[in-house]
């Protein structure tokens, strides 16, 4: 039951021929070769596969392709590159906000969604926005500090 699905992926038009009930995570990690969204639980409980659909964080493992028609999808690969990192990625590196790093792809896009709607979040607001995301290494404070640092730099950049 394959059908053509058109959407915008990381800023570029994409068309896939796929079963509309297949999951976005399988598409990303499989045929599209985008490994940033990570398999963590398969039931939307951990946030490791988070991506943004029309700017809102969703679990790619729970997102059916048929729902993506005409929508925009952002994965961590669309955030920035090692040569041109997003301010969030730069802040995470500057504060060494990570250990094993398995949770970071989802957290980075989740943090982007937060900063898009709230450019000056408090620690409690950052925690609330990221609460879905599990981190087992215990880098929560560094992550929250890095999100706050990126937010400050982005505000200062916007004002400059």
């Amino acid at each position: 039951m394959r059908q053509a699905i058109d959407f915008i992926l990381n800023g570029r038009a994409a068309t896939v021929e796929a079963d509309p009930s297949a999951s976005l995570l399988d598409l990303l990690r499989g045929p599209l070769g985008l490994s940033g969204a990570r398999f963590g639980c398969g039931v939307g409980q951990c946030g490791a596969c988070a991506v943004l659909v029309d700017g809102a964080p969703v679990a790619a493992c729970q997102t059916e392709l048929g729902l993506l028609e005409g929508k925009t999808v952002l994965t961590v690969e669309g955030l920035g590159t090692p040569e041109a990192p997003h301010p969030l990625q730069a802040a995470f590196l500057d504060l060494q906000a990570g250990q094993c790093g398995y949770c970071l792809s989802g957290i980075l896009v989740g943090a982007k969604a937060l900063l898009d709607r709230n450019p000056d979040p408090t620690r409690a607001e950052i925690a609330a926005a990221l609460d879905w995301h599990l981190c087992r290494c215990g880098v929560h404070n560094r992550v929250m500090d890095a999100v706050a640092l990126a937010a400050r730099r982005m505000r200062e950049g916007a004002a400059a």
Binding site: S35, Q89, Q96, G98, R136, C137, G138
Partner: protein, 698 residues
Amino acid sequence: MIPPMLAANPRLDRWVGFQPDGRVRIAFGRMEYGQGILTALAQIAADELDAPFARLQVVPAATGAVPDEGLTVGSMSIEVSGPAIRAACAEVRAIFTAAAAARLGCAAEELEVRDGAFLRAGQATGLDYWSLAGEVDLDRAASGEAPLKSAERMRVVGESQPRLDLPPKLFGAAFLHDLVLPGMRHARVLRQPGAGARLAGLDEAAIRRAAPDVDILVDHAFVALICETEADAARAHAAAEASARWEGLDALDPALGEAAALKTLPHEDFEAGAPRPGPSNRRRLTATYGKPYLSHGSLGPSAGIAQLKDGKLTIWTHNQGVYPMRALAARITGLAPEAIEVIHGQGPGCYGHNGADDPPIDAALIAMRRPGRPIRVQWRREDEFGHAPVGTAMLMELTAELDASGRLVDYTAEIWNTPHTGARGTAVAESALKGYVPPPPAPPRLMPDGSRFSGGLLNAIPSYDIAATRTLEHVVVPPPVRTSSLRSLGGAPNTFASESFMDELAAAAGQDPLAYRLAMLAEPRGRAVLTRLAEMCGWTRRWAAGTGRGLGLAYDRHRGRGAMVACAAEVEVDADVSLARLWCACDGGLIVNPDGAKNQLEGGMVMAASWTLKEQVKLGGPGIASTTWDDYPILRFSEVPPIEIELLNTRGGRPCGLGEVSQGPVMAAISNAVAHALDARLRQLPFTRERIAAALLA
């Protein structure tokens, strides 16, 4: 004396080489999984070589490519590998210096090395490591005799260095899980529900309806579903699971999941320490603490790849050691170790022996039966929770005798647990194979002094000056579920118990918990740590007990010889415990990478706070009943408090591992803060709202 790890891998060129591209090739047999060990070891190497850190290139771990350093466990890398790489690099520097002196016709003492170049009287000589590399043969055994740099002359060690492994993890491709090999197929294994379960039926037609191209492999009770895509393998697996009929299933009594049940199971007994005291008029106190079975809870379920081609088996793994994986695969497949190559890739944090050893063995078993193309096995979340080894439950029955002044003079720790490293060197798939017999119990491991090593005894005796101490250990064999190493083994649970008990003893003696501890602690570095912690947390502001808000502290010297760590916690207790602040003061000797050290200490504190407040593996059905994050909650962003960490004495003393030292003190600090808040003591982990209510009613 030559460091033991260098003696075991004496060839210098296994560790160090100078490449034509101007880089230093440096090889470690330690596995990186986010703890930052490769960065710290590279700092040690750069310093001892006097080579620029940026020119070091760490060799990706694989059998043959790196020295055999066994397993990366026990937070021992800095303590065990650090001296080896340091001695190897010092010797390489000395050999090259001698070569440069011969070329220049001067004495070696006239030369110094700066940024990899040889200087004479501060002037360039035109010689550096790379220009001499062609005439210096490092294919020779290390003597371990070369002089080492003194701590004062270190430049790279002691400075925070960004982790080498972190950048790729922020841009989407870093993990073994992301590796796609040409022609790779995806497989899932129908997990045998229990070690004795026999496969009585499988509806292959139903499986083929779910995934028409599936290759179904059935060998005794080992069933694999092999497909071109992972999604197809998942569908085939779901159909297989729905249709499989198993016989010989034993159901576990859920009550066995509680620590108290350990006393009801068959066990072996071990006693050590001072003779048991006779009758006396000293004051005697006893309390029993417990912790449940715990999951490693790695965020990514484990994965592995294997390929059998031309009689050679290649395995890709994110486990704790490439050589142990080779030995395990050789034992299970029957291949000679020389026919097996193991390549390491980055994986999610494991925190001990989690599921990482298993999917590569699943894949190897499939590859042996389906030679040619690479086979990738990705475990599901339910597999990782349900079939990876877990950390053992423990029961700690503590007895103290206080003299007339209230001072602790006699201490007994009686411990019940299952083997902390019992599942090492095994894979869960083995029991599904024809002719499986459970491996005999591993022979006792011995400490360097010849005494018996047991993970359950780590930190069993508190780190104070106590006249007489003893341990009684009861090891439950066989354990009700597969148990294996979890970060610190018995170390953190024992410190949780003993340092909570210490507050009970202080109360019995009518003394302040900090003063009570300091009175029994002569070690000046330990006193400094505890005193600084008290300043950090504002101990003097501590208020009356029973207000719902509590402040507690604890201290431990890990394994009696490692880092000295004190932690404090401020909590609020309503229906649940919420953490307001955590503090840590640590003297871990010479600190290689201060930022990395703090990251490890803080990560350990957050994980242990999560153990204390939330975590318990539930048993039931054929084995483990908690198989989703809903069944096994861990601490979340909104529950993690601000944490303050200070490193003391960072240039002094032997460097210590820091990955396992903060857990015990923070658990006890939380425990003591909760007792202060409630004016009632909780002794069983985790501190659930039911236990809080029960403690208040007691």
